[in-house]
Symmetry: C2
Subunit: 442 residues, 2 copies
């Protein structure tokens, strides 16, 4: 057997994922070398505090605080520090030096993808970030390579394990949001400050990345309409369940042709994150706990789903190392790195131009003719009703009757729906609008 | 924009998939050119009869019976003829000419993979066959590239839509095999001669390919133990359903360490196709109709599942075109094609060394002490029982009682199980062994 060349690997950051990447690089060195066609030598791990406690026992001499020097001497750089700076500067410096870069930094890729890609293309090296979206699930490479000869029309992703765990708990146990969040925190699925997860920011960064790859056009974080799950109530979940739906936080990217709207529409891609009702028989409805899944609709391939663990040190390390071995192979074989194509010409649509179905819950007066008046109002706003169901409640003591009205619409624009809801609120027979939620998969 | 170079694409075969590939190459020429970085010009379609009726209206001048000449002049060759010859000779000739080859020919790849790969490596060109396994589902590329830094331990695949449709029908409607097969034939999911599907031969070729990629070792068709679904009865399905299981035809490849068996074991990979009981809550149990799915367990990534359409002209064409665009990009960028690694050293295990759980249905005499005697016999053969359930039936007219015994074992070797079943048959209290089925996912 010929002697394999050695490639130096610099690791930036040694948290949950980084520590597992370092462990596997050391423990599985022989296997990785055989797969890559080169020895992958971990040359150092840049951290803020070289004496910090780690999850994994690693050789102390690998640690350094001097990330700059480490990067300058590396063939392959793995960035797992997170945040924008100094990650951005270090990655750009690595690319300029001709090193391939593997990162799991979704915020940075969503914000600065074009700059990073431009630098990688200029240097002819690979920039890859499979770990940035849906952890262990191979999703970016299949979209980029396997579906390169197809046209993706829609992507629906459960890409945040924390919120899926919380919504799944609420669905299973009937818990309120606050209690389900507390349980997620107790089990380590949610952080002490859960804002980035529960407000949808994490999912929004992943939505921007998925949309960019799926539609061959760079979408930035500001193109993503984002709503979190903090306002989803146990009553919403119960009503959805009763109607045969489950509520999931979805990252959605879909091509729409809404040229006839007056809301800045036209052909384009709607990229958004929001709580969404899905029929219980939809493949994504069966994704429980902290698992992730991405459902793709393509013109030729039809429906595809990719399912697996979306977070966790070891699963995410698998995605990082897959990218690393691919990048190493490209260095060994020679030739420029495989890059994404950005040949698309589609624009990001504002949320008002999004077209979807809606679930609307109303607390209404129990009077004759109420349904007719509401139906009339929907018709006037061009929103077609698919299902309308009224449930009468009678308070046993007071003998007062109240009525609950649940409406599922056909596909309509956000703008038309918003106008309809405004008008409905003005009706004297409406006590309150209890929920307005979007529906997919019907 | 700089002028793109033109790559000549030769298509061999124009059946269900080939006709769609031709259509998309013509209709989506601009999109494909942008993705590939080169114009993909369909230079000709080799068929046996140039005047045959096609599913798609294609320019008559593209058709030729002279495949040899077409291949000699091509940069990219798509082989969708099926069968071993002349496909094999044409592919080898294309590779020797420096053309990249895309094929959907599972039988050929399973039988002659090593020869084809050797030729592709020698020429430094890509040989890819995503369409050969699970149709539209991107599965080979994720295994090869995305999981390159991980160690796959087990693959369970529903890779034959015909048999999944038949078993799903039997499960849903209670139909017998023959009726479900007739229904599948009526709907076009099964061929007039369904042998290759229902006897598991199609799944076996795919199992060999999945095992080869997953364990970085070439496994041939003769390494695959294959049992079809023709002997699965409505009673088997009903009993499985009653016990919380569903029966699926699975292609299985798993690493086992059975060094302690006397059956030719040792560390190795068991590759097999057989009807298998899966718990109803297993992700694969929810794969209905003619859909396919591949479930992967890897050391670091954990559990992954890939789901989608496993057959059909247009979905399979998506996989072919994904490979084609990737191959074209490699020609445009230069550098050798990406190849598989065959660094594994694992051997194929004989079926006797396979280790799994079993479901055994027995028709037994309703006498005291029968359960104890059977349990004793299992213990003597080293097969541990997980669940044992006896149901007594009393014939209302004759007043004769019969007892049905259902046993689910813990994991045991095929050899131990076979010996146990033989011994059980010899007991005087046993009327018959009604079914022996393997169980996964417990």
């Amino acid at each position: 057997m010929t002697e394999l060349r050695t490639l130096k690997v610099a690791l930036l950051g040694c948290g949950n994922v980084g520590a597992q990447v370092a462990r596997i690089l050391i423990e599985d060195a022989d296997t990785l070398a055989a797969r890559a066609g080169a020895k992958l030598q971990l040359s150092g791990i840049a951290v803020r505090n070289v004496h910090a406690q780690r999850d994994v026992d690693l050789p102390q001499e690998l640690f350094t605080t001097d990330a700059d020097t480490l990067v300058k001497d590396a063939d392959l750089v793995i960035e797992l520090m997170g945040g924008i700076e100094p990650a951005r500067t270090l990655i750009l410096s690595a690319l300029r030096n001709g090193a391939c870069v593997v990162t799991g930094n979704k915020a940075l890729v969503a914000q600065d993808g074009p700059t990073l890609h431009e630098e990688a293309d200029k240097a002819g090296v690979q920039l890859s970030y499979e770990a940035a979206v849906a952890g262990a699930i191979p999703i970016l490479r299949p979209i980029r390579d396997s579906l390169a000869g197809d046209r993706i029309t829609r992507v629906l992703g459960i890409v945040n394990g924390t919120t899926n765990f919380i919504l799944d708990q609420m669905d299973t146990t009937g818990a309120q949001f606050a209690d389900a969040l507390a349980e997620a925190q107790r089990l380590g699925y949610a952080e002490a400050d859960p804002t980035a997860d529960v407000e949808g920011h994490d999912a929004a960064a992943k939505a921007a990345i998925l949309a960019s790859l799926s539609f061959h056009t760079r979408f930035a974080l500001e193109n993503v309409h984002c709503e979190g799950i903090t306002s989803v109530t146990a009553a919403d979940i119960a009503a959805a369940k009763d109607a045969g739906f489950v509520i999931k936080l979805l990252a959605i990217a879909e091509k729409l042709n809404v040229a006839d709207t007056e809301t800045g529409g036209g052909e384009g891609v709607s990229v958004r994150v929001h709580p969404t009702l899905l029929p219980r028989e939809h493949p994504l409805a069966a994704v429980h706990g902290a698992f992730n899944a991405v459902f793709i609709e393509a013109e030729n391939a039809g429906e595809l789903m990719f399912y697996g663990q979306g977070a966790g040190g070891t699963p995410t390390a698998s995605a990082v190392l897959g990218d690393l071995v691919s990048a190493a192979r490209s260095l060994v074989l020679g030739g420029p790195g495989r890059t994404e194509t950005t040949t698309g010409q589609v624009s990001a649509l504002p949320i008002d131009a999004a077209v979807t179905s809606y679930y609307i819950g109303l607390d209404v007066a129990d009077q004759p003719g109420v349904l007719a008046r509401i139906a009339q109002l929907f018709a006037e706003h061009g929103v077609s009703i698919e299902i309308m169901r009224q449930t009468i409640h009678r308070d046993a003591e007071s003998n007062v009757e109240s009525a609950e009205l649940r409406i599922v619409t056909h596909r309509a624009s956000e703008a038309a729906l918003a106008a309809t809801v405004e008008a409905v609120k003005g009706l004297d027979v409406i006590n309150s609008v209890t929920s307005v939620l979007r529906v997919e998969g019907v």
